[in-house]
């Protein structure tokens, strides 16, 4: 067994003046150097948890991985020191790095589903690092792994390791990855957005089991996330990062309750958009009546007897976990998946179940915006062409008339005229989603289906998009069917809410009624699972639960 040096002071990781650079290759320009992390210093004591928080591009993952001296995708550590257990690992060479990785520092990735090798059993992968570093015997490692499976609340812990990654759920894999990191009993674990890809009800389970495991094993951790409410539940200290620089560094209570920087304050107060609920007008613009839909020729029923109404100029939010049938409802309404039973009335007429039988006006008045803005646009078309396409298709606009309307739409989404000649790849995530909104608006629709349109965006950018959608709704009097798993979003923008669970609408009505007690068990679970910016929220929420999440 390799003896590792021990620093008596209790300081485990000491990153000093870290500087990380990469070379970017912008199209049509000479390569240039980009500074990703600039002069950041981080200290972690044994058994303590430091939260790294910031939006994408803030350099938090890059800093986290620097504790293992790992640069993802050609990133170079060009300055500073990373002192782990009393020695600078940047000057250690590949052999020392291999000794550290998986032995002193372990890593938990955002997408455990991708981070596990599909061809090998979970047990082999969980115990691999412990066996590689000769920390213990195979039998001992497996015993340890089973103990960890039990501690992390995995089902049937004795047999869990015999399964392959595709045989268990996403939440279980994320916990298995935590078990993998803990199995070699490292000094430090880097958690890189470990709950971001999970459903809200699964997130709270995984978060609670990670927190318990950290406390039980007394391991130190770097916890990376963009969600301040999540990190507030697990971290002792928090560092706020932006554009690779430190914004604020303090203990959790100070950051949450008394933020000193304006940017931190923005992050703390995210998701507070004032929106007064509208009362339903006379006749609904879209009325879905008793829809049942299935995949596989009627074998797998994913929608059961669903009925909802949407009124002109208002927003219906459809919430639920993945697999609850939210997106399938959108597919049924758009005609992509013709329902087996039920009818869809839109703007005073009954829509044909099949997309192919719908008129051009049916198509025009019902538009859609997707979660992944970048794959919803043709990368080889300019923004002008993308927004201009519905103008040509539905209104026959050409030439100067079309360009004028494109400019008008760009103005509406708060982007300048200059963007018309740019390509999607040159835009940020938020700008791309704005272009998709403009494209939907170009058709002058009466209803826009928004399928998780803010889930892939950073909180502050997502807030901007939500505000834009609300403003546009007032101007254009368009209705939204807003599909989301994020209840904070729902609270901000909805007029009515439909809660879906396993293909059925379990709760439906105006926002004020749906969000007022008494709750049914599922709505209660959903609501109580949304992380709140409160210290100790996690413990309270776990204690008061009435049902287990669907992830198990």
């Amino acid at each position: 067994m390799a003896k590792r040096p021990v620093d008596r002071s209790g300081l485990l990781l000491d990153i000093r003046n870290l500087r990380i650079e990469a070379t970017s290759y912008p199209p049509g320009e000479p390569p240039r150097n980009v500074v990703i992390v600039d002069n950041v210093s981080v200290k972690v004591e044994r058994g303590k948890v430091l939260g790294l928080i910031g939006e994408s591009g803030a350099g938090k993952s890059t800093i986290g991985l620097s504790s293992m001296c790992y640069g993802r995708g050609g990133v170079r550590i060009t300055g500073g020191e990373v002192v782990l257990n009393g020695r600078d690992i940047l000057r250690g060479g590949p052999k020392l790095l291999r000794q550290i990785r998986g032995r002193e520092v372990c890593y938990v990735a955002q997408s455990a589903a991708a981070a596990f090798n599909p061809a090998r059993k979970l047990m082999d992968q969980v115990t691999e690092a412990a066996l590689l570093h000769r920390i213990c015997s195979k039998a001992e490692a497996e015993k340890r792994a089973i103990g960890l499976f039990k501690k992390l609340g995995l089902p049937n812990p004795e047999k869990f390791g015999e399964r392959y990654p595709h045989q268990v759920s996403g939440g279980q894999l994320q916990r298995a990855m935590t078990a993998m990191a803990l199995c070699s009993e490292p000094d430090l674990i880097v958690f890189d957005e470990p709950t971001t890809a999970l459903d809200v009800t699964t997130q709270i389970d995984v978060l609670a089991s990670i927190k318990d495991a950290i406390h039980a094993t007394n391991v130190a951790a770097l916890y990376i996330t963009h969600d301040l409410a999540v990190v507030a539940q697990v971290a002792d200290d928090i560092m706020v990062l932006r554009h690779g620089k430190q914004v604020e560094y303090g203990d959790t209570h100070q950051i949450i309750k008394e933020p000193r920087q304006q940017y931190t304050n923005q992050l703390v107060s995210v998701h507070h958009i004032p929106h007064a609920e509208n009362n339903p007008a006379d006749a609904p613009i879209l009325s879905v009546k008793n829809i049942t839909a299935a995949y596989g020729g009627g074998l797998v029923k994913v929608l059961k007897n669903v009925s909802v109404d949407i009124h002109l100029g208002q927003t219906l939010a459809v919430v639920g976990e993945s697999g609850s049938g939210k997106s399938t409802l959108a597919r049924a309404i758009t005609g992509l998946l013709p329902p087996m039973e039920g009818a869809i009335n839109f703007s005073g007429r009954t829509l044909s179940p099949r997309l192919a039988n719908r008129t051009r006006d049916d198509l025009r008045e019902l538009q859609m915006i997707y979660q992944m803005a970048d794959v919803a646009m043709n990368p080889r078309q300019t923004i002008g062409t993308i927004i201009g396409r519905p103008l040509e298709f539905y209104f026959g606009m050409r030439g100067r008339e079309r360009d004028a309307r494109v400019a008008e739409l760009l103005h509406k989404i708060e982007m300048g005229k200059g963007f018309a000649d740019r390509y999607p790849a040159e835009l940020s995530g938020g700008q791309k989603q704005r272009v998709c909104i403009a494209r939907a608006l170009a058709a002058k629709p009466k209803l826009i289906i928004c399928d998780e349109v803010t889930s892939a965006l950073d909180p502050l950018v997502a807030d901007g998009i939500l505000k834009l959608l609300l403003d546009l709704q007032k101007e254009e009097n368009v209705a939204y069917l807003f599909i989301t798993h994020d209840l904070a979003t729902v609270k901000s923008i909805a007029d009515a809410i439909a809660v879906m669970y396993r293909g059925e609408v379990v709760r439906y009505g105006p926002k004020s009624e749906v969000l007022a007690p008494p709750f049914d068990a599922y709505t209660d679970l959903l609501l109580s699972s949304v992380p709140e910016m409160e210290l100790g929220w996690l413990e309270g929420a776990m204690k008061n639960r009435r049902m287990a999440s669907a992830g198990n």
């Binding site: 061809a119 090998r120 691999e128 590689l132």
Partner: protein, 319 residues
């Protein structure tokens, strides 16, 4: 093995049998379209019309084509491939020895080339874009680009004539000692290896490099595994299906495509047998050889499919 895998495997095998039947129809039809008459070619130009007619009747040549096809097929299924027109010998008997010789040559070529190709492919990935990778790829591509008759004669000149290490003519006969047999086929095996090596090596390299992009390779790196451990433990198991596919294609080439090499080294295998009888317009022999080549090709591809199915954990261990 679980039920879905068995079902998929059974489907593949059934498809293979159907395909083989279709090929047999094609081979039969193709030889029917060819000009010339079997009776005429047996009896020669001077035969009387009466003798021709008698022979045709005896051989069943006056029956409709489908009857003759079924007759032929029935014979094949019972192990009777007919008699060669040129020599009057039973085709099955003379083919057996030839086929065995060809399989012997192919087997040793495969034993050398497959492990070599995979090891070289792994090394190319380990030192990717470096000197070793470029050297392996360059030499591999060069050896594939040279036609086998060129490398064959080159080897005969240097290794057999100048150095006299191995014989230039690969004569083998029944009862030949194993060691001598190996020594006799050393040169054709080398030529075949050089021909198929690069394809398999490049494919192994590409398949593993593709897998190396995956997130779980990063996980392995962050566990502290060495580059070679990462490739063999985590990348290779996920690259098996494409590698086996290209290996099987090359194995099929080793059996089916050795004609030139067998002729160069005067090796008594299937290829030579086929070439000889094509020259003599011996249709039954050509039909039999064609069918055997097709059977080898199809069964090797079925094996590749089955390996791909079995190596996929999602199919092997359903939810």
């Amino acid at each position: 093995m679980s039920a879905p895998v068995l079902k998929l495997v059974a489907q593949r095998i059934a498809m293979g049998i159907l395909l083989l039947l279709a090929v047999s129809v094609l081979i039969f039809a193709g030889t029917q379209i060819l000009p010339g008459d079997v009776a005429q070619s047996i009896l020669g130009q001077s035969a009387t019309p009466q003798a021709l007619e008698n022979l045709r009747r005896d051989m069943g040549l006056n029956d409709p084509a489908y009857v003759r096809y079924l007759h032929w097929l029935g014979g094949i299924l019972t192990g009777d491939l007919g008699t060669a027109l040129s020599s009057g010998q039973d085709i099955a008997t003379s083919l057996k020895e030839r086929l065995w010789n060809t399989l012997f040559l192919a087997f040793w070529a495969a034993m050398v080339s497959i492990p070599l190709a995979i090891i070289l492919g792994l090394l190319a990935v380990r030192y990717r874009n470096g000197f070793v990778d470029k050297l392996i790829s360059g030499l591999g591509l060069a050896s594939t680009s040279l036609p086998e008759f060129f490398t064959g004669y080159l080897l005969i000149y240097f290794v057999a004539v100048r150095l006299q290490w191995f014989p230039s003519v690969s004569t083998v006969y029944e009862g030949m000692p194993f060691g001598e047999r190996l020594s006799a086929i050393a040169l054709p095996v080398t030529v075949l290896t050089l021909v198929v090596l690069a394809h398999m090596m490049r494919m192994t390299r590409a398949a593993i490099l593709n897998v190396m992009q995956s997130a779980y390779i990063e996980t392995a790196e962050l566990k502290g595994l060495s580059p070679l451990q990462i490739i063999t433990r985590h990348a290779f198991p996920n690259a098996i299906a494409p590698i086996v596919n290209v290996v099987m294609l090359n194995l099929a080439f080793l059996v089916v495509g050795v004609v030139v090499v067998e002729v160069i080294f005067v090796y008594p295998g299937m290829g030579q047998y086929l070439v000889d009888h094509v020259a003599k317009r011996d249709v039954p022999v050509v039909q039999a050889c064609g069918l055997i080549f097709a059977a080898v090709y199809i069964s090797l591809n079925i094996i590749a499919d089955i390996v791909a199915i079995v190596s996929n954990p999602r199919l092997r261990h359903p939810k």
